[in-house]
Symmetry: C2
Subunit: 323 residues, 2 copies
């Protein structure tokens, strides 16, 4: 098994390791899976190809990493201003999302399974206040995926760099800003040590859905009991990861604010509105040029529209009325 | 396996059936579990005792059903104005909740596992508008658990009746109001057919956490691979149920509003504030008279307080800024 994460990263790499442990326990050691972190056997972002070609049998990552090869894949991970974890889960598991995802990965000889969720991500660390979209112009920011395209639309330049390089790039001024995950993991990356940074809540990844991807040939060779065990262990990891992030993020948020004096502030509403409008442009360009993306995004959007009136009288009231 | 649900109830009874199916598939038919609905072998609300005594090996229900016997148990299901599903999951799975729950069930020879979540429940159906708490006085309402105690504080009378009796009780005027679950299941109960009812969003069960409870003697006799399989199948059911409810509630909400002309309206803020204050009184009385409830509720509250500042800059912003 190849993951896209640093070998010692908590939660994200722990999940695949727990998966292997549960599979081993459930099969009475019949099926033992060796888990390698990003870069240990192949570079992190080559995991998809390696599993597709059968070099490894299974991988763990996020489907927006493969957007260069499969633009439609990113809609199964995160969409700026898109669905949150609970809504993504409802779409993927009970709303037809997984069946579509299986079709998108089939030509690559891969079976996808949901494999975790980070919860709503933070908007990132900036070396200056963002008071209007003009403050994003010329800004060099490490931000992947659709969010990066939105920052480029706003006149910034989106830089892609692996997790291991971000700290040094910030320190040397190669980038002015970065996003990563949320308070728990951002704290461990030590960004607050580099300089005085402003820390903003997120908009670009409202609950990225992570993934297992399994070589179909390898999977089909498993007897059906082991196939079901693999599916069940993946489902348990999927669920466990969000619980881990949600239970710990605030502990680290408070450390950042009270021990490290990080300046947490909201984006002004006008900035969010402008970013939302750029997001719609970015997505519009993708779906106009790629029929498969159109198909997947239409399904995503129609599911979201379908469930929103219910969210408005349940979860939204929960948060707005402080239930 | 004994459940507390009607044998044909979608989602709630389907979950335990899927659990049995997945266990059977993962064990290559080594472990086959026969699932009985409420009343098929023993009355629904005797499932806990039956599994505790070893008459059956496993059960499925909601821990607030056992509040008469174990007051502390209800805090593992739902608390009025308490945590929502994502927060409950974080507490139970990654925040120490499950370990506490295991201690509470240990004297009954039972092992609890989270077993689903209905999502935020609706506040219920009323035969008149609720414009102030005075409108609750004298109201006979079918509402179980802590929510029922709150309605009693407000001057109403909380009636307990099994799901199968609610429709007839409404029709005959034995009760003036009822809650059940959410739009999907409320639609199937046909409450909208009885009379013109007002339908209100919820406050008393913001995401009840359901449960499997396993006879410890039976569980300890399983080899460790089968134990892990049982745990994994339960985890998959736990996750699946919320997805089912969240993906379908709105379809039925729209049918209720547009096909059945149900009058959906929010509770006035003053009513919610008053219900919140009665809820605090009700919980206060329980924890003052029962040290175990105090212990569990303190853990619940301190976890909730711990995560709230994070929720405020993630999920709350998601809903209030319409991300």
């Amino acid at each position: 098994m190849l993951t896209t994460w640093p070998p010692t990263l908590p939660v994200l790499q722990e999940g695949p390791k727990l998966f292997a442990q549960w599979v081993k326990e459930m099969t009475n050691e019949q099926l033992e899976i060796q888990v390698y972190g990003g870069g240990e056997l192949v570079p992190a972002l080559e995991a998809f190809d390696a599993v597709s070609q059968g070099t490894a049998e299974i991988g763990h990552g996020a489907s927006y990493y493969w957007a260069g090869k499969i633009p439609a894949a990113q809609f199964f991970a995160a969409v700026p201003f898109g669905m949150n974890p609970q809504q993504m889960n409802a779409w993927i598991i009970s709303g037809g999302g997984l069946e579509l995802w299986e079709k998108v990965y089939a030509p690559f000889n891969l079976l996808p399974l949901p494999g975790g969720n980070t919860g709503i991500q933070m908007g990132g660390w900036f070396n200056k206040e963002i008071n209007s979209v003009n403050d994003l112009k010329g800004l060099k920011m490490r931000i992947p995926g659709l969010g990066g395209k939105v920052i480029s639309k706003a006149g910034g330049s989106a830089v892609l760099s692996a997790g291991s390089e971000i700290y040094t790039n910030l320190e040397r001024g190669v980038i002015d800003a970065t996003e990563w995950i949320g308070p728990y993991h951002d704290y461990m990356m030590g960004f607050y040590k580099v300089a005085r940074y402003y820390y903003y809540p997120g908009w670009h990844e409202p609950g990225p859905n992570l993934e297992f991807f399994i070589n179909k040939g390898a999977f089909s060779k498993l007897p059906s009991d082991l196939q079901q065990i693999v599916r069940n262990a993946a489902a348990k990891v999927h669920h466990w990861m969000l619980c881990e992030f949600e239970s710990r993020n605030n502990l680290y948020l408070q450390k950042l604010i009270h021990e490290e004096n990080v300046d947490l502030r909201p984006f002004p509403s006008e900035v969010l509105e402008q970013l939302r409008s750029y997001s719609e442009e970015v997505i519009g360009e993708i779906v106009r040029s790629d029929p498969q993306s159109r198909n997947v995004y239409d399904a995503y959007t129609s599911f979201r529209n379908q469930i929103t009136p219910w969210a408005d009288i349940s979860e939204k009231i929960y948060y707005t009325k402080n239930l």
